[in-house]
Amino acid sequence: MPETKKRSFFSNKICRFCNDDQSKVFIDFFDVKAMKPLISERGKIVPSRISGNCAKCQRILTRAIKKARNIALLPFAVEH
């Protein structure tokens, strides 16, 4: 039983930026709406092993998030 549960946990690895026609992926650094679910409560970037993004898109996303942080669209760290 635990095995099946584990499989279901890892199975839905769908990249949310890759499109079907294999065209180039763009993530704008000012597109806060798209990046918000990939930021943790503390302002950290969610790793791709959790979010399921492919490695290529994760790199593009990371660059976008870091740019957004520089211009105060996303936080470096959320204070508590």
């Binding site: 635990p2 279901s8 839905n12 763009f26 709406k33 679910p37 740019k67 105060a72």
Partner: protein
């Protein structure tokens, strides 16, 4: 000649007339450095993710422009000296990125709803994942 994108944050306590004034002045900066403004967007007043020079809000401007590579430092210096600007960022744009940015206007209106739907789906997925973790 290279294409760039400048994002500027202006002081939050100025009225719209002064914002327009600032826009004019900034586009003049770019022209005087030998560039050309391609597109100017006003994103309006937004909450900043962290405090910048003790301001919690800021008026965002987004300008797509061209500029000679050697003039970038000069332009940044002008932004720095302009007292209404509290933060700025100049980003180099690749050709395909610029094309995408310039014909985005009509696409944004079409695509926005779909994006929202996708996000809801993703949220559901995340919830499922959380449940899975709790169970295991």
């Amino acid at each position: 000649m290279r294409s760039y994108q400048s994002v500027l944050i202006l002081k939050p306590d100025i009225d719209e007339a002064r914002v327009d004034e600032a826009v004019e002045k900034i586009s003049e900066f770019i022209k005087s450095n030998g560039g050309a403004c391609l597109k100017i967007e006003k994103w309006g007043k937004k909450r900043l993710a962290y405090r910048v020079k003790k301001n919690r809000f800021g008026i965002y401007l987004n300008i797509y422009h061209t500029l000679e590579a050697a003039q970038v430092a000069d332009l940044e210096n002008k932004y720095k000296l302009y007292d209404l600007v509290i933060k700025y960022m100049v980003v180099k744009l690749a050709d395909d990125e610029l094309e995408r940015a310039l014909d985005k206007e009509n696409k944004v209106i079409d695509g926005e709803d779909e994006e929202g739907k996708d996000k809801d789906k993703n949220k559901d997925k995340d919830k499922d994942k959380d449940k899975g973790e709790e169970d295991s």
